[in-house]
Homo-oligomer: 482 residues x 2
Amino acid sequence: MSKIDDSFFEHSSVAIAGASAEYNIGHAFVQCLQDAGFQGPIYPLNPAGGEVRGLKVYRHIADIPGTVDYVISCIPARFTPQLVKDSAAKGARIVSFFTAGYSESGRSEGRDLELELLRVAQATDVRLLGPNCLGLYCPRIGLSFAADFPKEAGNVGFIGQSGGNAIYLIRAAGHRGVRFSKAVSYGNACDVDECDLLEYFATDNETEVVAAYIEGVKDGRRFRRVLRDLCALKPVVILKGGYTTAGAVAASSHTGSLAGTGESWEGLLNQAGAVRVYSLDEMADMLVTFSYMVPPRGRRAVICGSNGGFSVLTADDYIRAGFELPQLAPREQADLLELVAKFSSTDAGMMLRNPFDITNVTSPEGHHAIMRSLMANPGFDLLVAQVSISNSAWPFAESPYVYWPDMFLDSLLRAQRDVGKPAAVILHSICSAGEFERMARLREKCQKAGLPVYDSIPKAALAMDRFLRYHERRRRQHAETG
Amino acid sequence: MSKIDDSFFEHSSVAIAGASAEYNIGHAFVQCLQDAGFQGPIYPLNPAGGEVRGLKVYRHIADIPGTVDYVISCIPARFTPQLVKDSAAKGARIVSFFTAGYSESGRSEGRDLELELLRVAQATDVRLLGPNCLGLYCPRIGLSFAADFPKEAGNVGFIGQSGGNAIYLIRAAGHRGVRFSKAVSYGNACDVDECDLLEYFATDNETEVVAAYIEGVKDGRRFRRVLRDLCALKPVVILKGGYTTAGAVAASSHTGSLAGTGESWEGLLNQAGAVRVYSLDEMADMLVTFSYMVPPRGRRAVICGSNGGFSVLTADDYIRAGFELPQLAPREQADLLELVAKFSSTDAGMMLRNPFDITNVTSPEGHHAIMRSLMANPGFDLLVAQVSISNSAWPFAESPYVYWPDMFLDSLLRAQRDVGKPAAVILHSICSAGEFERMARLREKCQKAGLPVYDSIPKAALAMDRFLRYHERRRRQHAETG
């Protein structure tokens, strides 16, 4: 049984131990909660008293007038066993520890202190999160550990053993349109651990996709069972940190984890049916895919976009990732040329075979007609649109022409609405902050229309291959079990 | 013998056929040359006459008063044989064709027209570049096909069969501090081809590193010989477009290339000793590496940076790429802890083993002392510094603290100057245009100090592994031959 249920995430008040009027980490947590729009009272705790960001500072948790559900510790490690006792006495449900200096330090004092925390907690009803972590992100109630995380809730549950990695993953995926039900930075996992959290996500109706950054597990057998059960219900994306020997050393000094060897993880994840990734960016790619991609019926892709050279590279990358790029039948090919002739005086400099490069078609009607015709073709299961951001303005940056990617993407979205075939968009090749901004604007347009957007051709091909493998495996399993 | 020598790149005047007062591609070429600072006269050609960007338009090339060295064709394909004749009569050395609609169209008219161009040219001294290309970039004399390429010349020679890919590669590598001697977008290669260009680079004193994006070669035996000879002299980075069957179809409709299978290219490139890459971003990574990285004596890396989770992932990526991450000897470890104690009241939340995470050291003196000590350690051959851009401001974006990456990188550069050991910097994890801008500022600082900068941990590890393989191979060859 999982140690946790919904009450682990549902808090009406938060106390932050160690927040001070001068900017420190506790102060920053107060700021995060204020900016994230936490609705309940926020209580800074500090023996010095005073005020933090307009809030009265309490000298002791017992002095707080109301109830306290969730306590965030930013005080030195040696004071934390007492904080747990006091929090339990106040009726708090969880204490989460930004505080570090426990088992991850590799020193016996640190290990002893972590055991003491656990002993103190076990005599009470309080649950511990961490230590050496950032705690909870629950956008529905405005709980957050970064001021700029999405305020809107979604269907992705994430757990991360590293706080820094959790921040980047949520932020990066958030910018790309992924929304979270709950996310947890869980650090050393002395009490609540990855198994408890994954078990919870299996039962949580708000969570439809699960992702985890894990450095080590304490009970391998339980983890295997929990993961298998979860994978049977929901897609699970796993990034295993410390899968090499040197990485394992690092993991042990980071979160006190026993990291386990690469070999055993490979088999374990594969057997359970988890989607394994090797970086946080690959994880964000998978979350974008599971959030936005409609599973295509097969692997027959049609590629359409700008620039002949990038079209060639896209074809290579998608073939390498296991897709097929069928050609049009001769009759269909003739029809397409006729269509292009209507919208362009010449087909010079265009590639009118799969992959299609329609850079030189410069009317929205032309783009729409071509992409609609390609999407409607039953010989293709999905359309991949690729647009080079840096190149697309060449040489017309100062020209009176409409910016090509806008025209192309507007037409793609229209064609996709008309036909309804799965489609993905790659907005790649960015050299400057200005180009990044341009990409972000185009990306938002596609996200609003419900399409997955990637920033690299090979990474898009990799993510889509993993997504298809996931669905192919499920189809096989359903076929086998009847 | 190569068909070309220095005179292929040295032009004192340029004519652009098809430039018009209204914005069109010829107009854009005029703009590129003006913005790139071309010193000689620029002659727009157009039967309509008039003016383009303040320049008199000549109706016919024969009307131009001075000599014309280099002609850029932006006129319809059917007029181009005559343009070649007229250019030859005027004494031009090269005609370069933006014009497309030749062999790449897959139609016999196109193939015939390309053959006719060649026949016309062979009766004269004029050399053809393309067709279906962007031509020459030669920063020393202000020749360019994009207005924003680096104006400063360098030591990298690049040839690209795709114009779009050439633009992106030069722009992307340019932003990352790579400087070019000469670059050529050479398209269908009906006359001057990749072999001619690579042979030239072998003899060119301005070129010390060579990179090529190639879709197909016409004479495989010659290519093998030319590449082998070039690789014996200079590092050569190759991206083969169209190495899958679908990619080959695309290459043929893009530049009329016979692309050849993946297998044969693998052997060919490997035998010659070329560095093979699979994307333009990987190519830019290699050019940054060859331009900025001092070859380390071995593979014993020390990793230092911010965020424990990213430190774990960096360790995994570097081990996977074939590096070693040795640990300090017990005595050295004790010395380091003593050093850290001087600059930080606690080592909680830091990882003081390789990979080192010194996020919680917040003084420049501390950073400098630690990195100087690590670099000076004879047990390490190189230092890899990794900084997460997105995370490093957390949660202190609004705080009075100095921005951590500035402090860290300033100290790193100082330590590197003191010790002189090879070092590389990874500025990764960017979520927004603002973060991109911050990264670009930090990157410039490192580039000015002569260090290679990467934007992704796994891609940095991959590029550095390829760089080391290149040097390991050369050392083996030198050992064998004497």
